[in-house]
């Protein structure tokens, strides 16, 4: 989902939660979130959205446009909502207050389904865009834009 910097070897049999927590921590410490996923705003979003829709949006490796930033925040938020609503469905009796928060058992199911759909859409668009711009694949896998080196302030 994110271009990881530096390369983090994912343990094959490792604990996924542990890894993702580590990634979030790492991204926070290195300022990856702040530097690459901010700022966002409705006006900026609209500007880039229109540019993308009319095929006038430039793609620069290692730099996220506002539509991408919003999409990534959305995906992160969706994962969080999936977890919360998932726990509410998993143990509705033991975690009853959570169920109430989602407007009941049925509400939690609907929330879970909606955010599942959001993640599926995100993945579909994400993969489609990688296919459209294949050079990003190497960058997002290795964590470095190797094809077109591009310097930014803050990069060592």
């Amino acid at each position: 989902m994110f271009a990881l910097r530096p390369v983090i070897p994912l343990p094959v049999n490792g604990n996924v939660t542990k890894v993702s927590r580590y990634l979030v921590l790492w991204n926070t410490i290195t300022g990856h979130f702040r530097r690459d996923f901010l700022p966002i705003g409705p006006r900026l979003f609209w500007r880039d959205f229109v540019a993308a829709a009319t095929f006038r949006l430039q793609h620069r490796l290692g730099e996220y446009n506002v539509v991408q930033r919003v999409a990534y925040w959305g995906a992160l938020g969706s994962v969080a909502m999936m977890l919360l609503s998932g726990i509410a469905i998993w143990k509705p009796v033991q975690t009853y207050p959570l169920e109430v928060l989602f407007g009941g058992f049925q509400g939690a199911r609907i929330v879970h389904f909606v955010f599942m759909t959001a993640i599926v859409l995100f993945i579909a668009i994400h993969v489609a865009l990688v296919i459209l711009v294949p050079k990003t694949f190497v960058a997002m896998t290795l964590g470095r834009a190797t094809a077109v080196p591009h310097a930014r302030k803050g990069d060592a």
Partner: protein, 241 residues
């Protein structure tokens, strides 16, 4: 009892088998990993860990939500691996509830004696592992009261059930002693109809539907974890909610 089946048997269930194959496809394209014994072992290990987590977060006195009379579904959904016409028909004259294991008074119970037991009613949600849920009204004696009456050793770890339809299930003692766990003789204020498990079913609002056995003919108390009909086919054993 049927032989233990592999995950292949689950493919007819569609649910778990399907998702496993899908997961397998994304990892090893064109290779079906569900046949491998190591995969079976790994999944069983995770399922046992899941049992322990569920037992740890289970609140012995935490009640499942209850609902108003008008929220209870009258025509409750029929669900079994066989059609309702093939439900076992237990005759009042010959039926006996057998007691076994760590129980002081093992005298069998007739329908008349069971029907004479005091009843409480509760309107709770039945949550099926298949993804549907339904609110119903069940009446009967709390299992913990019955266990007390027959002198069951409640320091034992499990209570098991055997049923006239070939089903078998078992639950942990904390769930057996939960105030909402019932021996339900009534559904929607009527004597439990044959297809819903006459003479009684174990109604547990803190567990998934398949942990609620019907047509119960034997109750036993044990320290050995009882097997379960669907657990033997790959479902998680504790299956609490």
């Amino acid at each position: 009892m049927p032989a233990k089946e592999t995950l292949d048997g689950l493919r007819t269930q569609g649910l778990f088998g399907g998702s496993l194959s899908l997961g397998a496809l994304t990892l090893l394209t064109g290779c079906d990993i569900s046949d491998h014994e190591s995969v079976q072992k790994a999944l069983a290990l995770v399922s046992r860990w899941n049992d322990r987590v569920q037992a740890a977060i289970f609140g012995a006195n935490r009640l499942a939500p209850t609902f108003a009379e008008d929220e209870a579904v009258k025509a409750f959904r029929y669900n079994a691996w066989y059609g309702p016409d093939r439900s076992p028909r237990l005759e009042d004259a010959t039926y006996r509830l057998t007691l076994a294991g760590q129980i002081a008074d093992k005298r069998p119970w007739t329908i008349d004696r069971l029907h004479a037991l005091p009843r409480v009613s509760q309107i709770t949600r039945h949550v099926c592992v298949e993804g549907w849920s339904m609110i119903g009204k069940w009446s009967g004696i709390p299992l913990r009261d019955f266990l007390g009456q027959i002198g069951a050793d409640t320091t034992a770890r499990y209570v098991g059930f055997e049923c006239a339809d070939g089903y078998y299930e078992g639950i942990d003692m904390p769930t057996a002693l939960h105030p909402q766990t019932l021996m339900a003789f009534q559904l929607s204020d009527d004597i439990l109809p044959t297809r819903y498990g006459y003479p009684f079913k174990i109604r547990i609002p803190t567990k998934l539907g398949f942990k609620n056995p019907k047509f119960v003919t034997t109750i036993y108390v044990t320290n050995q974890q009882p097997r379960g009909f669907w657990t033997d086919r790959g479902y998680n054993w504790f299956s609490g909610i």
